[in-house]
Amino acid sequence: MTDATTSEIAPDPVLTAKPENRVWKKFRRHYSALLGGILVAFFVLIALAAPLLPIPDPAATDWGAVRKPPSWTHWMGTDEIGRDVMARMIWGAQASLLAGVVSVGIAVIAGVPLGLIAGYFGGWTDAVISRCTEALLAAPFLILAIALAAFLGPSLTNAMIAIGISATPIFIRLTRGQVINIKSEDYVDSARAIGLPTHRILSRYILPNVLPPILVQATLTIATAIIAEASLSFLGLGQQPPAPSWGSMLNTAKNFLNQAPWMAMWPGLSIFLVVLGFNLLGDGLRDALDPREH
């Protein structure tokens, strides 16, 4: 989609710039990536500022204002037991983003070292790790997360662990492939030749070079993880009531579609926007960090 903004014939001013400028310029040129960044920044800001904002307590019920449509007192309306929907939306942003970042963090911390080891050492180590990865990848992401959340017991923490474990094989496979690509490069060979210990070669020479694609994948996986958390909460396997979460809000809203459609509007719209943000950002990062494209 970003091709539309790139002229194919005109000399590319970006290519003549210094490398560090080039990445930034390419990134900035992609308005869609910028839009993604703005969306993500907006939700992160809201989530961080939740305790400071002048909003009602997200758990405070008001039986005099049950299922009230949006108004000046309640900008996004109230829910089935009179809680302010906007306050719940803002606190829900915290749960959503936390789930996205923490579960991807788990996946990266577990997956990248395993991928490094599998790719660098090859042989039996690789065979064992790769078969395990394939086995985990065979179970559909959400099914695996549901099963793990079911056996671990429903809570936001367990949902994050479940999503993290389900996303780990993605990072193992990606890292492994990248390492195999670069481990026969001259600079790796020479590091080995001067007798550097393996852990130094892995951390100083290989890791920095495989990091960019991992960063891109992590951004895109946060998008998937946020949807997965919302799905688990929607099914009742994530954030437990009365703590607010976009997914569980949608689950309740589904029962009041006739009387209070706004209850279903906001959480879904927010999930959509924040996920779109991470997807745009990830696509933009990929274009900016990949030296081969265009």
Binding site: M1, P140, I146, A147, A230, G268, V275
Partner: protein
């Protein structure tokens, strides 16, 4: 080709064994004694002893695992605690429902994804391409359970065109069955269409710059023939194989879709099982979907050969 296939099956075997170990290990994640969960509220000592015997919980873990796998190979995945039915029987009952949903969703996905992919590849870099990509990206970002809820709000509540939930077996009343399934399969289908559009677009882009396409154009063939006969046919191979790999997305999507539209299928079964703490059913479903996915992978590899005669000769 046969040698390649045998090799593929041999590689798949350890993966399947590992999956079975993972699925078996799931029950060890249960906090506390799984038996207390299995035995229910009463915890009659006799029942406990019976279950301990039945699940061989007095034996070492590897023996327990082998017994479990042995049973699974004979089609015995345990018994549902809720309905006392064998898990395999329960799954067999729900399967036709999900297959109908899956088939109708794939039809939607193909109808939307492939034309959109072809058009955006042919018109690469134009506004049309841009719009198609924005729509596909939105499709990837929208939580499909929300899309389902919004459609119910619009189509069922406001316009009262289609039923909001329920299921009618195809054999009972075909028309009504398709009508109730229309909205759910559209929701699931659009989610798949986004992926399919991206695959089609990149496959077409790869083909459109090929020499034979230029030759076809140089011969003066009409653009329609060039695109549909010369380009699309060659782009079809990756599209077909990738469609087989959408299986995972399809099953996961079915869980949520069935939940929203209260369709008594595979996905509803797993969610209900989770809430009823019916762990044997959850294990059975994870095992069956994972093995199903590996099978689809094999199928995709085979189709690659069938569709691409050049590979067969090697």
């Amino acid at each position: 080709m046969l040698r390649f296939l045998i090799r593929r099956v041999l590689i798949a075997l350890p993966t399947i064994i590992l999956i079975s170990i993972f699925v078996f290990a799931l029950q060890k994640l249960l906090p506390g004694d799984p038996l207390l969960v299995l035995a229910g509220e009463e915890r009659d000592p006799e029942v406990l002893e019976f279950l301990r015997e039945k699940y061989r919980l007095n034996d070492p873990i590897p023996v327990q695992y082998l017994a479990w796998v042995g049973n699974a190979l004979q089609g015995d995945l345990g018994t549902s605690l809720r309905t006392n039915q064998p898990v395999t029987e329960l799954m067999a009952q729900k399967l036709p429902v999900t297959i109908q949903l899956a088939v109708m969703s794939i039809i939607f996905a193909l109808m939307i994804g492939i034309p959109a992919g072809i058009i955006s590849a042919v018109k690469k870099g134009t506004v049309t391409d841009y719009v198609a990509n924005v729509v596909a990206l939105s499709g990837r970002s929208v939580p499909n359970f929300w899309l389902g809820i919004m459609l119910i709000l619009l189509v069922s509540v406001k316009w009262q065109l289609l039923p909001a939930s329920g299921y009618v077996p195809l054999a009972e009343d075909a028309w009504q069955s398709i009508r109730t399934m229309l909205m759910p399969s559209f929701v699931l289908g659009t989610a798949l269409a986004a992926t399919m559009m991206r695959h089609t677009r990149s496959a077409m882009l790869g083909v459109l710059s090929a020499d034979y396409v230029r030759t076809a154009r140089a011969k003066g063939l009409s653009e329609r023939v060039v695109i549909l006969k010369h380009s699309f046919r060659n782009a079809l191979t990756p599209i077909v194989t990738l469609t087989a790999l959408l299986f995972g997305e399809l099953i996961a999507g079915a869980v949520l879709t069935e939940q929203i539209f209260t369709i008594p299928g595979f996905g509803k079964l797993v969610v209900d099982a989770v809430f009823n703490r019916d762990y044997a059913v959850v294990q059975g479903i994870v095992l069956v979907t994972a093995v199903g996915f590996i099978f689809m992978n094999l199928l995709a590899d085979m189709m690659y050969f069938v569709l691409n005669p050049r590979l067969r000769e090697q």
